[in-house]
């Protein structure tokens, strides 16, 4: 049977106090963020009065989870008020406290930091930043491998060649055209015309679709316009379609 002291010794290994350049002491705690990183706080002060800060750790956790844009202090303040903590410029901190209150302040600040981060990750809107074209290229490469060619001209019904970003030449003379489009008028118009011209050939061996970045805001009229050129698929739904065509 394990001795209580042995457990205490093991636990104490995970708590560290390290001096930092500004005279404060960084303290790692047993409190975990949603990402399972432990919450580290900083104790700063003189000889009699101290403050404990999370140094913006909650905000960092939110950013790491994909949150973009500022989180107003008032939103954080509402989450830490009952603990008697304060928020300034995204940093959660204790009030000024005497030496004997440091353990309580460390626990409160660490738990508040974790609670705020967990709350934000659950409730606030996240915008995943992605490079739409690069991500699409990776996805197509994964399924089509060497069959995938880039910027290939295809002749339309008008006899005009149109360049398409991704063309896969598959067995049975099948051709898959995957055309990414961004929500700019010139991009939309040029892609509609190119796809429409190819579509008008009515070649049963050619499958076309336009992929749009559904991370961006699209008007219904723009989406409808794209459909004149070829069937449209939002990027977030493109993988099942590609998988099906690749087999």
């Amino acid at each position: 049977m394990i001795e209580p002291d042995a457990i205490l010794a093991l636990l104490s290994r995970t708590v560290k106090a390290t001096p930092i350049e500004d005279g404060g002491v960084r303290v790692s705690t047993h409190v975990l963020f949603p990402s399972n990183g432990n919450v580290t706080v900083t104790v700063r002060g003189g000889e009699r009065e101290f403050c404990v800060y999370d140094d913006g750790a909650a905000i960092s956790e939110m950013i790491s989870a994909g949150l973009r844009g500022p989180v107003p202090d008032r939103m954080l303040r509402a989450r830490v008020r009952n603990r008697g903590l304060e928020v300034s410029k995204g940093v959660i901190r204790s009030p000024t406290i005497p030496l004997e209150a440091i353990p309580a302040a460390i626990l409160h600040v660490a738990n508040a930091s974790r609670d705020v981060a967990a709350w934000a990750i659950e409730r606030l809107p996240f915008r995943v930043v992605r490079n739409f074209r690069a991500d699409l290229a990776i996805l197509l490469d994964r399924y089509f491998h060497t069959a995938l060619t880039k910027d290939i001209p295809i002749i339309g019904a008008s006899n005009k060649p149109h360049k398409f970003s991704y063309v896969a030449r598959l067995s049975g003379e099948r051709t898959i055209i995957v055309d990414p489009v961004t929500n700019e008028p010139t991009s939309i118009n040029s892609r509609v015309v190119a796809n429409l011209d190819v579509r008008n050939m009515h070649d049963p061996r050619i499958t076309q679709f336009i992929v749009y970045d559904d991370n961006l805001r699209w008007t219904t009229s723009d989406l409808k316009l794209l459909e004149i050129g070829a069937p449209t698929i939002p990027f977030s739904r493109v993988e099942p379609q590609v998988r099906q065509l690749a087999h």
């Binding site: 008020r81 009952n82 603990r83 008697g84 903590l85 204790s94 009030p95 406290i97 004997e100 209150a101 353990p103 309580a104 302040a105 626990l107 409160h108």
Partner: protein, 168 residues
């Protein structure tokens, strides 16, 4: 007429003399190893949508229990435990001096009333004080709690912790 703040309703409930209804019967609690007693409270003989809830831990080797007044959320509680560390909020009355402790303690309504919103009771009673040093048994704790919350004292022997048992 606008709604009254919920805190005022709890103030009134606590100020009113309350009696216990029914014959106590311990039942298994929601967690393994717990037993629970729920006693409805009455004001002027009428049920008051509030209850005295006592939780016992008969499989724990030392004295441990909780006594709560719930309406319906807990508004007053004794945590009689020597193995639970409590840390007080920094948002607290100025006369509440303790920051943290590991002793039997009580969460009084006056210390936690500040966490109410207009329409909702606190999710947690953040602030607590160490139990008075002359209140160190279940019976004295229950009587002290009833005194603090204006519940008419139960008859002698009416409410006792479930007997201590051992896990086989």
């Amino acid at each position: 007429m606008p709604d009254r703040p919920i805190a005022e309703l709890i103030d009134e409930l606590l100020a009113a003399e309350k009696t216990l209804g029914g014959t106590p019967d311990w039942q298994p609690g929601p967690y393994e190893g717990e037993e629970r007693l729920v006693i409805p409270l009455r004001v002027n003989g009428v049920s008051a949508a509030a209850a005295l809830i006592i939780t016992g831990y008969p499989y724990i080797g030392h004295t441990k229990f909780r006594i709560m007044l719930c309406a319906p959320k807990c508004v007053w509680r004794i945590d009689y435990a020597t193995d639970e560390h409590h840390v007080n909020s920094f948002n607290r009355p100025p006369d509440l001096l303790e920051y943290d402790f590991c002793e039997p303690h009580y969460h009084a309504w006056p210390d936690n009333r500040r966490f109410c919103t207009h329409n909702s009771l606190p999710e947690r009673l953040e602030n607590a004080r160490i139990m008075p040093h002359d209140v160190r048994s279940f019976d004295t704790s229950l009587r002290w709690f009833c005194g603090q919350t204006d519940i008419v004292q139960p008859e002698n022997g009416l409410i006792m912790l479930p007997p201590r048992r051992r896990l086989l």
